[in-house]
Structure formats: structure tokens, C-alpha cells
């Protein structure tokens, strides 16, 4: 056999191996991902694509970022952590629990003010003429970046203090949504991703506060180990396919 033939065989073998590892991987691996609840729907869509392309299995665990954080520092076997804020991933990195230099911002949340009832005045005016409001729902600012953003918007509009007695705090953005959706709170600051997603857009009136009124809601992710499959996933999350999905589900891109 001459050198040329050997080289061809080598290239073909490499190509086959590359394709094979690209499509099924030498070992099809399983990764466990802790995901902030508000990102559930987008995450499911992204994961479906990733599994098809990479052949890896992804096990998703939805929940509140605070709970995930507590579980992770107590040894919960997650591989990747998608938080609803930047705080927890940063702390994990500082504590050395997360892989260094793995922290990325995967999505940027948008805040929206929503009422499920038809309004006679614009919803923004409803907020400013607050006497008629009984309950305004927000996510608890102590626990959720969306809550902090809502507080910032209201402060910047000079209604934060006056609305204190009417505030109803949900444990997270999902619960704030629930309060408004069930009609118990007339208005609420919810996530844009909850209001507009490909599967169901909710009815009612919306107001999108301009980005200048609140600090960006950066949702960050970190790796918790150096498994190859985990790295593949994070890379995929930053890729154009995933970014398209993220945008479709109502998030901004960083």
C-alpha cells in the first residue's frame, strides 16, 4: 500500500470518527441541568434541538434559583446551572463551586406591566393613577431580579412609595403572573416571556417599560464540572440556533 492510500484511509477514518462523535458521541452522555422556572418553555425547545444534534441526554430540573443554589452548594449533582439572575452564578464562581471562566449571560429578561382586564385608560396611566388599584403584583424583590426591576421602574416613575400598601409579592415571577392571571391582582409586573411565547399569548393590555427605567435582567449560566457534554451544551446555548429560540420566547439577547 502506498503513502497516498494510507493517508486517504487515515483521513476517511478521522472524518468518520469526527462525524460519529459529532452525531452520537463515543459515549452518549447524560447531563443534568438546573433551570430557572421562568425559562422552562424556552429551555425545553432548546434541549430538544440539542439532544437531536448531539445525541446527549438532557435531564432538566426546573425551580427557583434560590433553591437550586442551596441544593448545589449542598452537593446536588447538577452539571449546568441556568439561573434567573447574575448573583447566584457569580457567588458560585467566587466560592469555587462553579468552573472558573464558565459563566455566561444566556438571556436578558424583559419586564412588562400587564392586566388581564380590558382597560379604559392605557395601562401605564393606570399605574400612575394608582388610587383605583387594589392590588399590584410583583415578584418579591428580595428573591427575584424581575422584582428588583419592577421596583426600579416604579421608583423611577415616583410611584414606589405610594404603591407600597397595594403591593402583593409573589415568591417568584411565576407566582406574580398567577396572581394577575387569576384576577386577584388587577395589575402586575411580569416577564415578557410569560406574556408572549409561541405557544400561547395571553390576553389583556400590556406596557413595556423602556430599558432605561431598570437595570438589565441578566440571566446567567455556569458549569459545575468539566464534563465534555456540559461544555458542549453551554457552547450550544451561545450558538445561533439557541439564540433564535431564546428570542422567540420573549427574551432579549445580551
Amino acid at each position: 500500500m502506498d503513502a497516498f492510500a494510507i493517508k486517504q484511509i487515515a483521513i476517511n477514518l478521522t472524518l468518520i470518527l469526527a462525524l460519529w462523535s459529532g452525531s452520537t458521541s463515543i459515549l452518549s452522555d447524560e447531563i443534568r441541568v438546573a433551570v430557572a422556572s421562568n425559562f422552562s418553555m424556552a429551555m425545553k425547545a432548546i434541549t430538544a434541538e440539542f439532544e437531536t444534534i448531539s445525541g446527549h441526554q438532557v435531564v432538566l430540573s426546573f425551580g427557583s434559583t434560590g433553591k437550586h443554589y442551596a441544593q448545589i452548594i449542598n452537593g446536588a449533582p447538577f452539571d449546568v446551572f441556568l439561573a434567573a439572575d447574575a448573583l447566584r452564578p457569580t457567588i458560585l464562581e467566587q466560592q469555587g463551586v462553579a468552573q472558573s471562566n464558565s459563566r455566561i449571560t444566556y438571556a436578558r429578561g424583559k419586564l412588562v406591566l400587564w392586566t388581564s382586564k380590558p382597560e379604559t385608560q392605557t395601562i401605564k396611566e393606570s399605574l400612575l393613577n394608582y388610587q383605583d388599584i387594589r392590588h399590584l403584583a410583583i415578584a418579591n424583590p428580595k428573591l427575584s431580579p424581575y422584582g428588583i426591576a419592577a421596583q426600579q421602574v416604579m421608583t423611577n416613575l415616583n410611584v414606589w412609595l405610594s404603591l407600597q400598601t397595594k403591593l402583593v409579592r409573589g415568591e417568584n415571577i411565576a407566582q406574580a403572573f398567577q396572581f394577575v392571571h387569576s384576577g386577584n391582582a388587577e395589575l402586575g409586573f411580569i416577564a415578557y416571556s410569560q406574556a408572549f411565547n409561541p405557544e400561547s399569548a395571553v390576553r389583556g393590555s400590556f406596557w413595556l417599560p423602556s430599558q432605561s427605567l431598570y437595570s438589565p435582567i441578566d440571566q446567567q449560566a455556569v458549569l459545575l464540572n468539566d464534563k465534555k457534554a456540559s461544555k458542549d451544551f453551554l457552547r450550544f446555548l451561545e450558538g445561533s440556533l439557541a439564540r433564535q429560540i431564546i428570542q422567540n420566547y420573549g427574551y432579549d439577547l445580551p
Binding site: G66, R134, H135, V168, Q175, Q178, F179, N184
Partner: protein
């Protein structure tokens, strides 16, 4: 670190909720338990199953349906607004309603058992001694069912102290009116304030334990006096 003012308020709201709910439950649970212990209706078991639901349903399920019911389109909310009342979600009154559903089997079942164990004989005797039905209830049934009342009251109170899932759903976390200790603890944990979480949890645990020791100890003296 000692309990902050907000935490103390949360404890106070918890105690208030437990007390009010237990009182309401004793008032409405007593006639209900009485009827259950005496009735021969062949569909009685359906009512018993409904009352027992909170024993097995996750509190969040109960809370979820309450949230919907209390809303303007729900049965309770609609009724309330028709009668001209204010909406009940995110109010202390709303929590009381939720707690009443949540703790009902803990109050009704001990009472029902206590009433049933009295049997018919003492009541027949009292009737032959000229006691009217109401008279019989208060002079015969209530004293004889005293351990049952104590158990019902304690269980109802203690159960409501620990209520979380229902309050989580319909409370709205308003300090001073719907922020109960269990929610405050949860929030401290979520916000990584573990020290405060410890203090508040510890206080609640200690209080509950002392309460139960006191009540069971006193009740035991009462029953031991009789061989």
C-alpha cells in the same frame, strides 16, 4: 442575631391566624361533626371523603384552587362581590378561609370520634330527665367529649401554625397581614439569609413544642384521674 421586627410580626400573624382559624373551625366543625356522628344518611361517606381531602391533597393544590375561587371569576369571589364585599385574596380573612379548609379534618375527625364514642344511651337518659336537645348537647355531650374538643383544638391550631402551601398561593406575602412565619422562613432561605432563617424556625419550633407539651400534659391529668 435576634428576631427582626418583621420576623416578630410574622410570628404574630402566624399565631393570630392559628387562633382565629381554630376558633372558626370549632364553631362550624362542632355541628358538622355532630351530624356526622349521628346521621344514618347513606351518602354520608361522600361528605366524610370531602372533609378528609385536605389530609391527602398537597396544600398547593388546595391553594391553587382557592386562588381561582377567590378571584373575581370564581365562585367565592363572585359571591363576595355580589354581596358588596372586598376581594378576599391577599387578605387575612382570605387566609382564614384557606386555613379553615386546610385544617378542617384535623378538627372535625377528633370531634366526630368523640361524639360517636358517647353513644346514644346518655342522651336518652337525659331526655327522660327532661333535657331538651340543646340542653342535652351542652350538659352531656360537651363535657363528655371534652378530650375530643381539646384534641381538635390543638391539632387544628398546630396544623395551621405550619401552614405554608396554601398561604404561599393566596397570601401575597404582605407584612403584617399575610406574611406568616413559614413564608418568612422560606424567603430568608431563598435570599441566603440563613441566620435569620434559623432564628425564626427555631422560635416556631420551640413554641409549637411547648404548646403541645402543655396541652397533652394537662389533658393527660384529666384522663388519668379516672381509672
Amino acid at each position: 442575631m435576634i428576631l427582626s421586627e418583621q420576623d416578630l410580626t410574622a410570628l404574630f400573624v402566624t399565631l393570630k391566624l392559628a387562633s382565629v382559624s381554630t376558633l372558626v373551625l370549632l364553631i362550624i366543625g362542632t355541628p358538622l361533626a355532630w351530624w356526622l356522628s349521628k346521621s344514618q344518611w347513606r351518602f354520608k361517606y361522600v361528605i366524610e371523603a370531602i372533609i378528609a381531602l385536605p389530609l391527602i391533597l398537597p396544600p398547593t393544590v388546595l391553594g391553587f384552587y382557592l386562588l381561582i375561587s377567590l378571584g373575581p371569576n370564581g365562585p367565592i369571589g363572585g359571591l363576595v362581590s355580589m354581596l358588596g364585599g372586598a376581594p378576599l385574596a391577599f387578605t387575612f380573612t382570605g387566609l382564614v378561609i384557606g386555613s379553615v379548609f386546610y385544617s378542617m379534618p384535623f378538627v372535625v375527625q377528633p370531634l366526630q370520634n368523640a361524639f360517636a364514642s358517647i353513644g346514644n344511651r346518655p342522651l336518652e337518659v337525659a331526655a327522660t330527665l327532661r333535657a331538651s336537645p340543646i340542653d342535652r348537647f351542652f350538659t352531656i355531650v360537651v363535657p363528655m367529649a371534652k378530650p375530643g374538643f381539646i384534641t381538635a383544638g390543638v391539632l387544628g391550631f398546630a396544623h395551621t401554625l405550619g401552614e405554608f402551601g396554601v398561604v404561599l398561593m393566596i397570601g401575597g406575602n404582605i407584612p403584617g397581614s399575610t406574611q406568616v412565619a413559614s413564608i418568612a422562613i422560606y424567603d430568608h432561605v431563598e435570599a441566603l439569609e440563613y441566620g435569620q432563617a434559623h432564628w425564626l424556625s427555631g422560635s416556631l419550633l420551640l413554641f409549637s413544642f411547648l404548646l403541645l407539651i402543655f396541652v397533652y400534659g394537662a389533658n393527660r391529668r384529666y384522663t388519668v384521674a379516672k381509672p
